[in-house]
């Protein structure tokens, strides 16, 4: 039982202890809180926990299989797609959702796909390269 006003991001972080999903702003802008809900990438700060009842939620913790990183995580490492790492969980979830829907995106499509995710460090170039690299991977 949760209060209706409990945000999904707070439920994930504080009730479930899944702190991979980050709170980066107060204004529903940054998408550091991005998770997949029923296969669609959404801002978990802008969804109520009660709205997620009975729905599939995928967080960044769900990408790796044990200590086997997911191809999108491997790509971000290989291509230096992060610096401070604060936006990274959200970027990974947006990238994952993008590639699930479009396995060979153009650079323009990648930029559009991550256009909801704000990064203060990288200038986005390495992130785009990381997503391109992930797309080249065959083990999805």
């Amino acid at each position: 039982m949760v209060e209706p006003r409990l945000l999904l991001v707070h439920f994930l972080r504080e009730d479930l202890g899944l702190t991979g999903t980050h709170v980066g702003c107060d204004t529903s802008n940054c998408s550091a809180c991005a998770v997949l809900m029923d296969g669609k990438v959404v801002k978990s700060c802008s969804v109520l926990a009660v709205q997620a009842d009975d729905r599939d939620i995928l967080t960044v913790e769900g990408l790796a299989k044990g200590d086997q990183l997911h191809p999108v995580q491997k790509a971000f490492l290989a291509k230096h797609g992060l610096q401070c790492g604060f936006c990274t969980p959200g970027m990974l979830m947006s990238a994952y959702a993008l590639l699930k829907g479009n396995s060979h995106p153009t650079r323009q499509e990648i930029r559009k796909g991550i256009s909801g995710n704000i990064c203060r460090c990288t200038g986005y170039e390495k992130i785009v390269e990381s997503v391109e690299q992930a797309a080249r991977s065959k083990d999805w």
């Binding site: 209060e3 209706p4 107060d26 529903s28 700060c45 969804v47 909801g116």
Partner: protein, 292 residues
């Protein structure tokens, strides 16, 4: 960051939702995609006593042509509008707008019904609906009724809906050939509010005369604005008359009343309206004639 307390209900049927809204009085509010409402709750700019979540009500989404109109279910997500082949082919002005609403995450949840009925002058679809001459179906305790877009947007965050009413359907009249439309938005960054945005829908007649034109303006007044004086002026003029198009743009801009803010001065925004209306009109004519 933490919303104020409220009660929450997730009805599984429309009658149940309407009963909850009616019973909840002034403090009851519909939540659909929540992409406008949740930011307000988190900043405590809204304090509803009851949220009526309509996401679990079946049958409220969908995009299909029915006889004389295109039906868009109120719960249709912006992402589905963006990816709809039917809309891309037949109503590209709607896709133009869907593409620039928020960001990809917002579009996965944000709904057509919400974008229409939230009442924020920065919402994009109202101007599109004004340009298209659309009508909305509202369902409440007294049953269904239809409201023309031009009568719907009454004031900032105020639309012509009773407390017990929910928008369930958006109906866009099929436009006879030779028709074309376009939505253009100037924003400083993705998911920002528009500095200004315009919707133009045109129907061409003999010799490329402007037989019919609809113009909707976003973010330059207390509500979306139908530039009806400019529309009236342009009807009957040749769309190949460059001077007429320039004057038309100016007249549409004169019907806007933007506020000076961080995105620009009022006069700057009016100039943006003038420019965008001119470009959108030309592009609509191109599309009508079978161009891009």
């Amino acid at each position: 960051m933490i919303p104020p307390s409220f009660d929450y209900a997730s009805p599984k049927s429309l009658p149940e939702a309407i009963a909850l809204l009616s019973g909840g009085g002034e403090g009851a509010k519909v939540i659909a995609g929540g992409q406008s409402l949740m930011p307000l709750l988190k900043l405590r700019l809204a304090s509803p006593s009851l949220l009526v979540d309509i996401n679990r009500i079946p049958g409220l989404d969908g995009i299909e042509e029915r006889g004389e109109y295109l039906r868009i279910g109120a719960l249709t997500r912006m992402a589905d509008i963006e990816s709809s082949g039917l809309i891309r082919e037949g109503y590209p002005i709607i896709r133009d707008a869907a593409e620039v609403i928020g960001d990809p995450l917002v579009r996965n949840l944000g709904t057509m019904g919400g974008n229409i009925s939230h009442g924020d002058p920065n919402n994009d679809m109202p101007a599109v609906m004004l340009a298209l001459g659309a009508e909305f179906i509202a369902t409440g305790l007294a049953g269904e009724r239809s409201i023309k877009a031009e009568h719907f947007f009454t004031d900032s965050f105020t639309v012509a809906l009773g407390h017990d009413e929910i928008i369930t359907e958006i109906r866009v009249p099929k436009h006879p050939p030779i028709s074309g439309g376009c939505y253009l938005k100037l924003e400083q960054k993705v998911a920002d509010f528009a500095t200004a945005a315009v919707a133009v829908q045109v129907r061409l007649g003999e010799g490329w005369t402007c037989e019919e034109v609809g113009v909707g303006l976003t973010a330059v007044g207390p509500t979306a604005i139908k530039a009806s004086k400019a529309e009236q002026w342009m009807r009957g003029r040749k769309t190949t008359d460059i001077n007429a198009i320039q004057k038309f743009g100016r007249r549409a801009a004169d019907e806007s009343s933007p506020a000076t803010d961080i995105r620009g001065t009022a006069s700057y925004k009016k100039e943006v309206v003038r420019l965008l209306v001119t470009r959108a009109f030309r592009k609509s004519c191109e599309r009508a004639r079978g161009g891009s």
